[in-house]
Amino acid sequence: MGIEGIGARVVRKEDRRFITGKGRYTDDIVLKDTTYAAFVRSPHAHARILSIDTTAAKAAPGVIDVLTGADLAGDRIGGLICGWMIHSKDGSPMKAGAHPAIAHEIVRHVGDQVAVVIAETKAQARDAAELVEIDYEVLTAVVDPAKAQDADAPQIHPEAAGNLIYDWHIGDAAATDAALAAAARTIKLDIVNNRLVPNPIEPRVAIGSYDEAEEHFTLYNTSQNPHVARLVLSAFVGIAPEHKLRVVAPDVGGGFGSKIFIYPEETVCLWASKKIGGRPVKWTSDRTEAFLTDCHGRDHVTRAEMAFDADNRITGFKVHTIANLGAYMSTFSSSVPTYLYATLLSGQYAIPAIYAEVEAVYTNTVPVDAYRGAGRPEATYLIERMMETAARELGVDPADLRRKNFVKSFPHQTPVIMCYDAGDYEATLDKALAAIDYAGLPARKAASLAKGKRRGLGFSCYIEACGIAPSQAVGSLGAGVGLWESAEVRVNPVGTIEVLTGSHSHGQGHETTFAQLVNDRLGIGVNNVQIVHGDTDKVQFGMGTYGSRSGAVGMSAIVKALDKVEAKAKKIAAHLMEASEADIVIEGGEVKVAGTDKTMAFAHVALAAYTGHNLPAGMEPGLKESAFYDPTNFTFPSGTYICEVEVDPDTGVVEIERFVAVDDFGNVINPMIVEGQVHGGLAQGIGQALLEGVTYDMESGQLLTGSFMDYTMPRADDLPSFEVSTTVTVCPGNPLGMKGCGEAGAIGSPPAVINAITDAIGVRDIAMPATPSKVWAALHGAA
């Protein structure tokens, strides 16, 4: 372990460049002869393109070319794809409409790209974009997922009749209906999970560059998974075969899911670079474009019913959800409201029968895909709002009701695919109850009341699934990719190390935690380890970072490669020190013969591997190993969050007084980084509960919350200091015993906040975001 090993709060290695302004983000890259792209975007939510006149734009100063969807189609550039096949109840495959990188004939949401101007400067490109004249025939739009299948709703894609993409289900309908029929009590709940904009502070950027001599493309972009981008752009969009396309994602300024997906602008910049003769084409999104084109998150409308027996044990849970996927199916959108959502509907509870139906629909809105948590926040919000509501209506303590129904023995097979491997839900609940001083709540409520305020407390006992896997299982469920990770450990002749990883860091601190792992094994110090990621020319292949997978999956691949490196180093050392391989141990940067004083520096062994002067007979020189790791199961982080709020009944303002988060992430590499991940997730979850929400004009389909002026991002004075801590049950599924911590905060927190507010003001439900005006209206019966 040591001061730079596993479990240590090592200050981040990557920070120095960020705090001195030396980070290298995509927009900081200016290639020689760069040209700039500006997109002409649809002002209408749904319209037919009657004509496009680019004459004036083409004649404008500095303009190199103006390209349209017809040009793209003419060059036989393929459309974007959704990489997870979902089948409907009747066995039919999902109905995916075409998604051209530039709209052709029809635009389907405000912001859909209609043309692109390439010019010498960004300002010239933007000026000329204003001169592109487009005639539209405006069509009726639908933005509400609950209305997308109405008879009078417009048809958005010819492939999806009634705008229904799929009508999927999971679980046992008959058993669940029987449980509901036989129940002592049933609790019904209608829940809306609001639509959110991920808004990483770095906007998306793409630079496409074509080398005519080599017939080779390079894409610099703000991606969480550059290899997947290359795969899609090669195999489906058809830009170039993989060996002729390099994708580089340098420092990336946050993603939260929104930078997983393959976006139209990447295709356009690559294609346009070739079209204009090989000069690089750069596009930098502004924030307005980010609101109009980055995939949004959530947007579920759900009706659910839970059955309890006379002893308040859950006997069944039935769920019907409509999921809005927006105007086009984004890269992984289909998996979010299905396998990432409904498979978690058992929560932390032993529920014998579950049945869920999910209808995914097209609407004239920005595409919806994974956003921090992806499906699991929707499941958690539903279950934990349901548990709190049930406790109130059954007249029992909400902590007691949860405790009674907790899964208590592992492994636990739920009725919805997941098999929970390890956990101790009572431990996190008990720790959180102690931290918040639950026993003191009545006195605190009375004190608030005496001041004219209303105090409330809300629980959320979440479970989530990280490190989505194994490849064979997800393949059988429709995934178009495997979900393993790769690593390569290169020991240099001087004994320093490069780790090439298919994971990608965009804030998570991999350069530090991954180096801690190597140091833990070899003891060479984190500063002798370099983590290399984000470049398809350097790293052979990888699946990238999302779904809290980089610890449990990405680091496990490094462990496997390190195992091989150690094994070879031990063979070499045994040979050099004339000892038995079994007696060799590696620690503190030394390779030793156990029980003797024989030792040599790890660097010495490395050098010996490369000089090749004296190696065991038949051994290849060099010390470099790679590994692919495919997990055997998901990991299941869990925890208890408790939020305590004080509401001012005169203004409806909600003050978060305390927020206690107790998480079980299994083993932790760097507690400082893990806490930071929880803080960030909590801010996003509290943002969803109190502040954030997308509003569209229902008639015109205009995005009304299209800037930071209209869409309320959580700011420092909206949030409290968080009280975070952990408990540990070791994950048996991977060599490090880790579970994943990147999304828990965003998954667990929204129901805790809403449960606290509804407790404070004595209402059954309040829609997120619970703004002061909504809270005030709920309190004063003026909804």
């Binding site: 990483p200 502070i201 946050g254 307005t288 959580p714 004075d717 949030l719 968080f722």
Partner: protein, 162 residues
């Protein structure tokens, strides 16, 4: 076109720029200092904060011409050689950054905030003062801790702060 001369981090930059050129564009494109970031187009996020004549400004909200003749400090100009400014050091020590994109603006705002509050800072004041800076990664928890710690350190050692 307008002739603009600016002193950025002690170095003089002169250029003829389009009238509409923003200060942040001058810094990033003319001076080539890419530590100052652009996170929005409505003057909300604070990723672009620099010091102009020692006062924090959002460099996306000002024309380069308006700053003509001024002296700009960007994130690149804060450290003295290898010696980090106390605010930079505190952000690192307290894990006040994750992706690092908001960080330059956060640090420059914090430097300005500490200068304006020689009496010291408490948590509520720091949180309130940060209303012009958005961070999507950290939940602000560790940013607040970092600023608090830097403010405490700098008020204890007033000479070291400048």
């Amino acid at each position: 076109m307008t002739a603009v001369t600016l002193n950025v981090n002690g170095k003089r930059y002169s250029a003829d720029v389009e009238d509409r050129t923003l200060l942040v564009q001058f810094i990033r494109e003319t001076a080539g200092l890419t530590g100052t970031h652009v996170g929005c187009d409505t003057s909300q996020c604070g990723a672009c904060v620099v010091l102009l004549d020692d006062v924090a400004v959002k460099s996306c909200t000002m024309l380069a011409a308006q700053a003509n003749g001024g002296s700009v400090t960007t994130i690149e100009g804060l450290a003295r050689g290898d010696q980090l400014h106390p605010v930079q050091a505190a952000f690192r020590e307290h894990h006040g950054l994750q992706c690092g994109f908001c960080t330059p603006g956060m640090i420059m705002s914090a430097v300005d905030m500490i200068r304006r509050h020689p009496e010291g800072l408490d948590e509520a004041t720091i949180r309130h003062e940060l209303e012009g800076n958005i961070c999507r990664c950290t939940g602000y928890h560790n940013i607040v801790k970092a600023i608090q710690s830097a403010a405490d350190e700098m008020s204890a050692l007033p000479a070291a702060a400048e």
